[in-house]
Symmetry: C2
Subunit: 423 residues, 2 copies
């Protein structure tokens, strides 16, 4: 049996069936460094997928911060410790001044689970609006926001879904109008239900929905409708946060809105399990009063040290500027490929989260979902790791570690050219 | 302003009000080593509270494992990696052979959130039974198991609470009969509800309930009633697991039962955020089929390296034997104090989770709840950190790191003698 087959069999025996695994020929990764991953045979892969190792795989400053703090103290927040205070002060300084306090958790799922309850504490209601192609995490409560699989006992009825924005197949009218109208309708519907209207939760970059290119002000009418109805806006920054989109630290800043609650996850500790919720002190205090909450590992000194090192590296290596510059460079390269390959229907994204939507017919914009799977596997065979996502699951998901360079982009582009040429 | 007052003010400003903090004079901890914690003034405290740093604060082997793996690779489980397989194989080998697969998470709360859904997947029902003084974690779904604070929108009605076992104030009859009768009644009640009966979730050591001393077989009739009704038994091992109670690796093994689902948390990674769910492959596969589940940080190579080092140290330093021996020694010491101090109404516990229940009147067993708070604060003033818990919040919570020695126990006992003498 091959190494891969043996590992897959062992994995199924120990971790169960139906556990997701990337690529038709899965990779057995043993080492990471910067934007590179290495398999057990020493083969090198350019990582165009992973946003969790935000400042690069195994960044020495993050590793050093973790090792130093882990050998000094790792305990909970029921004692006084300056690590969490220094970090939250530094973190909240990157937000609008109204967003001045935070709760730290271990995952983005835990953060969204809290955010929904924060909204409940502020509004006294439980109804939530989300988009129809989103994903906000894996807890029981947060899973209810997904349309993917009805849970045992059914959906609880407090969630309304609105069509995700789509810049490639827009609904017509002034951009943002259709979205805000759908949200307004969902608000009215919830207000007539026993749940009432509590919150709109969105990724302001709509990453899972296929990262549509939305004009400035797209969300203004939506946010106004939510506020007018007494609801709160939750911005899930697990994907666009920490400068990913280039030019802005947060996706909601790029979108030009100030949410009431912001949730953080994946890139926050470069892979060390840490997430968080940032909100105004009134919102946070309302939550703490309505729900007792304590998270044993949340905000521990080691997690805070890892997260602080991530902020240091983002600044010191000017990674937000890099995301903007290299992202623009790579997008321009994709655009050149579009002239050569008819299968590329649309190019969009921002900073180091961008990609191409693949279609079978440019005029009809017919989603090339299966072909996108072949492209992703073809890239993997040629040593470039990426994924796919979007409403039709036909957009390439290119979301590399933030130190991604022009040279890395060139390799990704030439490999993609090669794969598309071989289709 | 004193250092403590300044830190408290800064903490309230950045982390919000009502965030729990131990002791009337909180400690500002900056360093930990073995069973010792050190404050900013260099003062040393004997840690009789923290079970998270299971093999001792900053154990060099755990720190080294974390540092080594963090500098090599830290990624998710959608690639093949041997770290998680080696760990799950080693972990499940400590369980009954029917419990042969696992899902890894970041926290015990996430683990219990999954366990409830696993039970739903297996039974097709959602009703759950828990004890009336328990705590199983902080997610929205798991919080519903607590009676402490009604959530916004109210409790959902699918939880039934049964009186927690109490060996000091037993309900009468053959031990276990009253508990199994209460569970049987709750099962019947749920079966007549729209929810149906899905699971009984218990800490088999009933730690938060005050760690009653229960005879062998106490839970047998209860488990039989659950199985007969087609439900599953979830054992929450977040507190008694990993050898804490001495002589057994798991609390349910001490209780002599084989649960269907086991959840793990706090001590698993010595403070590194890792939790998990262990179950039979049929149960785990049913969950994976009914609910898509992926946890970005869960089972990452660094978490697995930390957790593997914990298992290594437990074995190599014979910490389960140590827990049994030192725990018995300390309990005998507490029993001597009982002859001197009338306030000690009962001594109980097992291994390195034991304590005294404090009463105002031995005959009436009147809980001395406020006095217990004074004792805990008096211990802190004298350099010994512990807590309190139990149905009446009047039992001392003594739950030190596992390398706790007889000498450490002597210091704890002499300090307690001193504090009780000064009341």
């Amino acid at each position: 049996m091959s190494d891969t087959a043996a590992l897959k069999a062992r994995r199924e025996r120990l971790l169960g069936r139906n556990m997701s695994l990337f690529y038709s020929d899965p990779v057995h990764i043993v080492r990471g460094e910067g934007v590179w991953l290495y398999d057990a045979d020493g083969r090198r892969y350019l990582d165009c997928y992973n946003n969790v190792p935000h400042v690069g795989h195994c960044h020495p400053r993050v590793v050093e911060a973790i090792a130093r703090q882990a050998s000094t103290l790792n305990t909970h927040t029921r004692y006084l410790h300056e690590g969490i205070l220094d970090y939250v002060e530094r973190l909240t300084a990157t937000f609008d001044r109204r967003l001045d306090t935070a709760i730290l958790t271990c995952t983005g799922s835990e953060a969204n689970d809290i955010a929904l309850r924060m909204a409940q504490a502020v509004t006294g209601k439980t109804g939530v609006i989300a988009t129809d192609h989103t994903y906000h995490g894996n807890t029981t409560a947060v899973s209810q926001l997904s349309t993917r699989m009805p849970p045992v006992g059914g959906f609880s009825g407090h969630v309304r879904h609105v069509p995700a924005p789509d810049s490639y197949r827009p609904l017509g009218g002034t951009p943002g109008d259709a979205f805000s109208a759908a949200v307004a309708k969902a608000i009215a519907d919830l207000q007539e239900s026993p749940f009432g209207f509590s919150a709109l939760i969105i990724d302001p970059f709509f990453a899972n929905e296929g990262f549509p290119d939305l004009p400035e002000g797209f969300l203004d009418a939506t946010v106004a409708a939510v506020r007018k109805a007494g609801g709160v806006v939750i911005a899930d920054e697990v994907q666009p946060g920490f400068g990913r989109t280039g030019g802005h630290m947060w996706g909601h800043q790029k979108a030009g809105i100030v949410p009431d609650i912001v949730t953080l996850g994946k890139p926050m500790g470069n892979g060390h399990p840490i997430g968080g919720v940032v909100a105004g002190s009134d919102t946070l205090n309302a939550f703490r009063q309505a729900f007792r909450y304590f998270n044993t590992f949340g905000g521990n000194p080691v997690s805070c040290a890892a997260a602080m090192a991530v902020l240091d590296v983002i600044d010191d290596e000017a990674l937000i500027d890099n995301a903007r510059e290299v992202g623009a460079y790579a997008k321009a390269g994709l655009d050149r490929l579009r002239h050569k390959h008819d299968v590329i229907g649309d190019i969009r994204g921002s900073g180091l989260f961008f990609g191409a939507e693949l279609v079978l017919d440019r005029e009809k914009k017919t989603p090339a979902t299966d072909l996108a799977t072949r492209v992703v596997n073809g890239m993997r065979e040629r040593g470039v790791l990426m994924g796919k996502l979007g409403i039709h699951q036909n957009a390439t998901k290119i979301r590399p570690p933030m130190p991604f360079s022009r040279e890395n982009a060139d390799l990704m582009l030439s490999t993609l050219d090669d794969v598309l040429s071989g289709l």
